[in-house]
């Protein structure tokens, strides 16, 4: 299990580090909202899901897409704006999708995929499927009315969905305390009748366990939804490849604490050197391959501009 977590976390971290490294070359034609520092949430949740389970996310979905098994080559190609991208270059980094992996969408408008996740869960229930949906969003999305409308409806109908709030405390540069009087996101969910739990400190193990239990209950037919607030931390700037401590809206000290407790470092300690090296080399190879794939992938044909507006 620990090896699995380590591989998943390390892989996402390294991929995003590579994205950050390449970004200044302008080869990436899309803004990047890096998940570096937040990988534990996506990994902890998605390791507990089945391939047929569904996820929806925000513009900050690199980690979610990868953790759920989204195709890496096609993701990098999408960032490059190439024809082999996961959205043929028509989505960009904020609209990652992988139908096979059931990564069903991501939106650049905060909070907007929450009700879609709920609607998908409604369909699964109606279709008598035992797959579940996980809806990912940030602490900023909690400010939006649609968050409440969505939870209210999901609870009313007892839908097979798990809401995952990745609380990194900031909406761009604005701290939660400047947007919400109380630090009580779980209570906001409970007000709609959802069981809610806060999981501190990027605790990938605990996230995995609690989501696994919830998913089990849902598959066993007990009514959803469930709500989890996962405390985590964004180490890079809101958008782009750099640090942003110079902006002064947060301190380096604040970040240090999270760097210290970084689950990647923690897990690394528990792995024997050989296995660790094997994992890391495999990851490096995969990354080289993916960026090479993106480099070689052609640009979309001009005719692509006019396709996919309407169905045939």
């Amino acid at each position: 299990m620990q090896a699995r977590f380590y591989r998943a976390l390390y892989r996402i971290r390294r991929i995003e580090e590579e994205i950050a490294a390449v970004y200044p070359t302008d080869k990436i034609k899309s803004p990047v909202h890096l998940s570096i520092g937040q990988e534990a949430v996506s990994v902890g949740v998605c390791e507990a899901l089945r391939p047929d389970d569904v996820v929806f996310g925000s513009y900050r979905s690199h980690a979610l897409y990868l953790a759920k098994g989204g195709n890496l080559r096609r993701m990098i190609a999408e960032l490059y704006g190439k024809a082999d991208g996961c959205a043929k270059g028509k989505g960009g980094s904020m609209h990652l999708i992988d139908i096979e992996a059931r990564v069903m969408g991501a939106s650049a408008v905060v909070g907007t995929t929450i009700p879609q996740a709920v609607g998908f869960a409604y369909a699964l229930k109606l279709q008598r499927k035992d797959s579940v949906v996980a809806s990912f969003f940030g602490d900023g999305a909690v400010d939006e009315g649609v968050f409440h409308e969505s939870l209210n409806f999901a609870a009313l109908k007892g839908l097979p969905i798990i809401f995952v709030c990745e609380n990194n405390r900031y909406a761009i540069h604005t701290h939660q305390s400047k947007r919400q009087k109380l630090d009580n996101i779980c209570d906001r969910a409970r007000a709609h009748g959802l069981p809610a739990e806060q999981i501190p400190n990027n605790d990938v193990q605990r996230i995995y366990e609690r989501i696994s239990q919830s998913v089990e209950q849902l598959r066993a037919g007990s009514l959803g939804p469930f709500f989890f607030e996962c405390l985590t931390y964004r180490l890079k700037e809101h958008v782009g490849p750099n640090d942003d401590f110079q902006l002064g809206y947060r301190t380096r000290e604040e970040a240090e604490a999270w760097v210290k407790s970084d689950p990647i470092e923690q897990l690394r300690a528990h792995l024997d050197a050989a296995e660790r090296r094997r994992i890391e080399m495999e990851v490096e190879d995969e990354i080289k391959d993916a960026f090479a794939f993106a480099e070689q992938s052609p640009w979309p044909e001009a005719a692509e501009l006019y396709t996919d507006v309407y169905g045939e």
Binding site: I97, V118, A123, Y310
Partner: protein
């Protein structure tokens, strides 16, 4: 075609029958929205469907237009075909983010890998003091944005055929109903049929002027045509039916013949459907033949509830006829037909 059938239905029953038949035919069709399951059953358009298809496929919703639109989109991504009903088009302003930023764009921004087959039914109000927020015809917003389809049927026949198509269509369709049209009756075949996008209907032939009437204004245009007959003006009346995609070809062909175009919209003129139709016709016919145009629509003000002002707010058969008279004869003749009671507007009786 309408004439093939003897059976008459109201627009309300045509909508109900289309929904009923499609839900029976395709178990992926679901119907929801505020009050679809209540005793009034959305003017009767959803009557009996809860009993027939059950509460999972037919359900009322909380007052949450924004999220419920997202729910429709998400359900569609999972393979359902949701019909989301709003008793006022004005309330769609709460759903614009999901409609414009998600529904219209999903197929494209996900590289053609997903589709959003939803139908959004919404109703335009008129009369009985509905006023500022219960009277808007805002469909031009949806004509503006690629990825959405827009339809505004005016007859019971088209109400059924367009709704059947809209439900089967794999793109989001904004289905616009006018509450006064709900009371229209007309021939409607019992068997299922579709009235497809991109085909307008010539509802009356004529040679002097092309009269395009959108939504409820189609009724007023047909009345205006009768007034115009009395002064030997022969108007060709066209019902676009589908506003997006718009069958501009049929309109252009008519104007090529008549040389005169009057578009009467059930909304404001500025950046509205009438502006688009005029612009398209001019683009197509310029340097081919001279054309004179006229737009009529809501007065460029907020809708007042008091009848004395509301009557001035909307175009009607007489004001349309008067405007067309000037368009055809040239100049400002101040001609007004005398009201004919046999052409009286169907009265929409309250309580609204």
């Amino acid at each position: 075609m309408a004439s093939e059938t003897k059976r008459e239905l109201s627009y309300i029953d045509a909508v109900r029958e289309a929904t009923d038949q499609e839900m029976a035919r395709d178990s992926s069709v679901i119907l929801f929205g505020l009050d679809v399951d209540d005793p009034k059953a959305i003017q009767g358009t959803t009557r009996g469907l809860l009993e027939k298809f059950g509460p999972e496929r037919v359900f009322g919703s909380p007052l949450s237009e924004d999220a419920m639109t997202g729910v429709a989109i998400g359900a569609a991504l999972a393979g359902l075909r949701p019909i989301h009903v709003h008793i006022r088009m004005d309330f769609l302003m709460l759903a614009m983010n999901q409609l414009i930023n998600i529904a219209a764009k999903s197929r494209y921004m996900y590289g053609g890998q997903v589709q959003v087959p939803i139908v959004v039914r919404s109703m335009i109000g008129k009369s009985w003091g509905q006023g500022a927020q219960h009277s808007q015809g805002l469909y031009s917003f949806f004509m503006h944005v690629p990825g959405l389809k827009v339809v505004a049927p005016t007859t019971p026949y088209d109400a059924k055929g367009c709704l059947v198509h809209a439900i089967r269509d794999n793109d989001p369709v904004m289905y616009v109903e006018h509450r006064i049209l709900h009371f229209q009756r007309g021939p409607v075949p019992e068997t299922s049929y579709t009235v497809n996008p991109g085909k307008a209907r010539i509802t009356a032939n004529g040679s002097d002027v092309t009269l395009v009437g959108i939504s409820y204004m189609q009724v007023e245009c047909l009345r205006a045509r009768k007034y115009l007959e009395s002064v030997d003006i022969d108007a060709e009346v066209i019902d676009p039916i589908w506003l997006s995609p718009l069958d501009i070809g049929t309109i252009v062909d008519s104007v090529r013949k008549t040389g005169r175009l009057c578009v009467v919209d059930n909304g404001w003129a500025a950046c509205g459907a009438s502006a688009e139709i005029v612009a398209l016709v001019i683009e197509r016919l310029q340097q081919i033949r001279p054309v004179v145009v006229r737009r009529l629509g809501f007065a460029p003000v907020t809708c007042p509830p008091t009848p004395i002002l509301e009557n001035l707010y909307y175009p009607n058969a007489s004001t349309i006829a008067s405007a067309v008279y000037d368009l055809v004869r040239g100049g400002d003749n101040g001609w007004m037909p005398k009201e004919r009671l046999d052409l009286q507007e169907i009265q929409f009786r309250g309580p609204f």
